[in-house]
Symmetry: C2
Subunit: 168 residues, 2 copies
């Protein structure tokens, strides 16, 4: 740690290109969704996660873990989504300190309309420009990076290998 070797030429080249992706890709996703559906990619992702759960409901903490967000960020976002009628917040009756976020009918409809354009964007800029092998490689690379991040990340792990603390 006290003496970290510099990056060699190949490592540096890869890193610089990767940083460019980190910088540009989120903006591309946001632009498309904002333009076509009036929402950010993060908002879309939050609603997408909800839409895949039974009942379209998830506790805030679990939703935060699933979307890689802090509870604070999620709280603000859900507040905005609630204002637009796409999500509603329901205090859990059994446990006084948990809040359930639930996708509304309007929210589900919104997702049906927004999804095709978003998927097309993901295809155009990522999936379709990679070979099947590269897609596998990207998954493995992402996994390796996440493994080094998440234990100390904004959310302690424990979600990824979901043994289902919340029932299916």
């Amino acid at each position: 740690m006290t003496d970290t070797p510099w990056l060699d030429r190949r490592q540096m080249a890869a890193w610089v290109r990767f940083v460019a992706v980190l910088e540009l890709l989120p903006g591309v996703l946001d632009s498309q969704l904002r333009r076509d559906s009036g929402m950010t990619h993060f908002e879309y992702f939050v609603m997408a996660v909800l839409s895949e759960t039974a009942g379209g409901t998830l506790r805030m903490a679990e939703l935060a873990a699933a979307t890689n967000a802090t509870l604070s960020r999620l709280s603000h976002v859900v507040q905005r989504l609630e204002g637009r009628g796409f999500v509603e917040r329901v205090p859990c009756p059994e446990n006084g300190r948990v809040t359930n976020a639930r996708l509304t009918v309007d929210g589900r409809a919104k997702m049906r309309v927004a999804a095709p354009g978003h998927v097309a964007t993901v295809r155009r800029h990522v999936v379709d420009v990679l070979t099947p092998e590269q897609t596998e490689q990207l998954a493995a690379i992402s996994e390796a990076i996440l493994e080094s991040i998440e234990p100390s990340g904004p959310m302690a792990a424990g979600y990824r290998r979901h043994d289902g603390p919340h029932g299916e």
Copy 2:
């Protein structure tokens, strides 16, 4: 485009993991630099690009292209960096509408202090968790993604094949 196929299971898995990286990694980079050096990753990157040019000087538009930023964003950032004494803005005498950004002595010193910790972070979370082959793969994947983005991106390409900074 009117009928885009959904992502299959493997594509979806890869995308979800990659989105997590997109969401978490920038925060990790920012946190370390903010904590140890009081600057953001983007500020660091701007100064790093400057430090690698002869004279530590670059026109705003070129600096924007090299850092994948809009001119607007760069303008704000350089303004802040100037306020802290790390960069100075020098109007170009030959061309009245260009502004040159130059790294100051303080800025260079700042980079010398900040670099090791940043490199260590990049290693810990990216370079050192990948095999050499994966590093090459990441470079190729990034390149493919960028190629699909940059032509229509915030900055038209044309920088990457740099014929020399002050070429005209």
